[in-house]
Amino acid sequence: MAIIGIDLGTTNSACGIFLDDGIKLIPNRLGDLLTPSVVGLDDRGHIIVGRTAKERLIQHSDCTVGAFKRLMGTRHQIKLGRQSFTATELSSLVLRSLKEDAETFLQAPVSEAVISVPAYFSDNQRQATKQAAEMAGLKVLRLINEPTAAAIAYGLNDRQQGTYMILDMGGGTFDVSILEFFEGVMQVHASAGDNFLGGEDFVDAMYKAVLAELNVDKTQVPAHLEQRVLMQLETAKRRVSSEPTQTLALDFGVQQTEFSVTPEWFSSVVVPLLLRVKAPIERALNDAQLSPDDLDDVVLVGGATRMGVFRNAVGRMFGIIPSCHLDPDLVVAMGSTLQAGLLARNAALEDIVLTDVCPYTLGTGVLNHENPNAPNLLLPIIERNTTVPISIERTVQTSSDNQTQVHVEVYQGEHRVAERNIRLGELTVPVPRGPRGQEKVAIRYSYDMSGLLEVDVRVLSTGKTYSTQIEQSPGMLSDSEIARGRERLAALKFHPRELEANQVLLARAERMYEASLGDKRQAIGAVTAQFEATLERQIPAEIEAARQRFVELLDSLDVEEWF
């Protein structure tokens, strides 16, 4: 049975398989290795995923959505047309699309996968990712941390001993991991990160700055125009280090204007974001008890690390030029695939062991003895950056006389006051009545290789054990809910696969038509009409030829970079 490795990203997703001759990344139905993580509904209510959906973000922005990975593990409902979805369900649709592509490529059913998640993803978000896969009919054998995945891809590529720092900035998250590679062991020393710092934030910062400079009221900008401006800015962001001045023709509906983007303007706009890069790096180094001199190399991963300003900031910080000889967009997928190969015990990977860490502290709330009226304090049980899998037990006692219940709250985070951390759930266990401090309960936290937590509470006097996989947190689904979700999503019709290539071209032509003026617009309109006429005639060979011509024409006319 084949196990595929999946990189489920904020902006783009990819998948691969470990074959006997190494990593093979799987192209999707359009022949691309990257599938944009965008989901939409077409006019008949069919699901569209990937580039076709991305092309439709502008014209059909009310029934298309991207970057929903940021809402994983929450109960936000995202409305597309008349239906609404959670981020988990949307992710599940992307996974289903990847799964189908893999099955077509392998000519065999696929039911097991390794999925990468940001190292700093919380327990909630991990569970949500796992559930998304289950809804798509994939069993998750392992969740692997993205920087770890990137690191093993690099480690196995070079087979060099040493200590590396991996900086992974994708579309929505920033992760730092320090990894040592020796004697076939890949040991993660520490991970830290920021769950809300990524390439999309840079585009948002640019958008906000543009609105402020041109005095445009954000609420007055129509939805589809906003999307177009965002896309124009994204293109400008990609080109900013290579072109001294870019002039964008921006249309806000209420106001049409030209705006020039210079590298200086860009770096002044994104300074606040770059400042946020430093803290996780320092924390990771501190936790690993290393100084910058101990690092053999700094490796950049993730599409957003292509930005010149980011590279400069990192270069200044470490005084070295960071390396990035693997494609930063694909390296995480390669790492996930390697992990899948490891799990399948592929002979080529027999002698490799990977160890990872828990990136945040997990603990429980206990009474503040100095001031019992103050909020509870956090009693750390698993300290952050402990090597996993691990299982640790701490004993606590009753805090008042005649107490009959012990309320065990599970928190994740670093703050001294329990409430100010992320609450993962709770568990109430009964204890025999008695004077304060007589009854003791042992709380055991077990953290597995996928980063999922299990809590056992044992009452010492009665010997009874109560256990929970964290349940009560928001965003968590019960088994029946997952089953229902799977049925509901399975009932959704996907856009016919074979038509997708034509669909993506028409969507692209539509976008280009709106974005251009004059002769160019007429030209695009003319070739689109021709192509549509060919489609009507339904002669496959003719369509094939027409599509080729259509692509070439559009390529010659398109000015925006998309991937």
Partner: protein, 316 residues
């Protein structure tokens, strides 16, 4: 020690040997298949590495990471330089002092010449010292001028409410080389902190005084980005306890809480596309059929109305 035995290495093994042994062991007891034994081996490995590195370099100085990065290290170097400046005049005096010894009366002419010579040297020394003092005064003046200029701009910024939520008005701080001077940095940090505390104090009293509807015309809450910039320049979080004692703790606490909470992030804002998002905090409570008097009254009224209608229809 137990750890040596677990890894099966000799007591005088070096780091490379320990690593090799560890690698070998955990390939037999993989973390995914044998987590308990793996954790035991891992603990032993960590303990051994710590022991060995202590033995090999008992007093190896390690630059604390945070310092290496943050401006802290730059400040401490500058502190030393600052001291060097302060020490310099004293050194000049000591080097000049041998000249101050009373000249030995050997021969009149010689003594005279010597005396003149000494006098000249003394003069030169005095002048050098005066120059140094002058230099220091000038430097002090320059420092004071720079300080005043910066403080003025800072105060102006505080008067313009808008600048507390934007980063650009504060960018000039980062360009001043004086910030690298320890003493200067400290003084500016205190002045700025005082202004900020005063602003928070105003915020508090304003909040208490005014109703919610008028709140937005009052003083604004400084944005995280601005506070974070200050913290980065002046290492406020590092001196939290001290600063809280220095200012009013009650007022200063929100500043540190805000810094600790990190940047505002609203995950919904980052979505692409224009789909409507409904926020659901938790499971909707199942609607319970509850009995209450209002319902009862409603039903009674409805029934009596029906009865009236029946009456109207059938007993006309």
């Amino acid at each position: 020690m137990e750890a040596w035995r677990i890894l099966g290495v000799a007591r005088d093994s070096d780091v490379a040997t320990i690593k090799r042994a560890y690698a070998l062991k955990i390939k037999q007891h993989r973390p995914d298949t044998d987590p308990v034994e793996f954790q035991r081996i891992h603990q032993a490995y960590k303990a051994l590495l710590a022991t060995v590195s202590r033995q090999q370099s008992p007093n190896r100085e390690r630059t604390p990471t945070t310092q290496a990065f943050s401006s802290g290290l730059i400040f401490s170097q500058q502190d030393e330089q600052g001291e060097a400046v302060a020490v310099a005049p004293a050194a000049a005096e000591t080097s000049a002092s041998p000249q101050l010894d009373p000249p030995q009366p050997e021969a009149d002419a010689e003594a005279d010449a010597a005396h003149q010579e000494t006098e000249r040297r003394r003069q030169a020394a005095r002048q050098a010292q005066a120059e140094l003092v002058q230099d220091r005064i000038l430097q002090q003046q320059a420092r004071q001028q720079a300080f005043d200029a910066i403080l003025q701009r800072v105060t102006e910024n505080f008067q313009n409410q808008h600048s507390l939520i934007r980063l650009e008005p504060w960018q000039f701080l980062t360009t001043s080389p004086w910030l690298l001077d320890g003493e200067f940095n400290h003084q500016l940090s205190l002045s700025l902190f005082k202004l900020l505390v005063a602003h928070y104090h105003e915020l508090n009293t304003h909040k208490r005084r005014t109703s919610r509807s008028r709140k937005r015309y009052g003083p604004v809450q400084p944005s995280y980005a601005v506070l974070a910039l200050f913290d980065q320049l002046f290492n406020w979080q590092g001196q939290q306890t001290w600063l809280e004692r220095y200012a009013d703790e009650q007022v200063a606490r929100p500043i540190f809480n805000r810094l600790h909470d990190g940047p505002d992030v609203d995950p919904v804002k980052g979505l692409r596309g224009h789909a409507t998002v409904l926020k659901v905090e938790r499971d909707p409570e199942p609607a319970k059929a509850t009995f209450n008097w209002e319902n009862l009254v409603g039903w009674l009224v409805a029934i009596s109305l029906l009865v009236q209608m029946f009456k109207a229809v059938f007993f006309r």
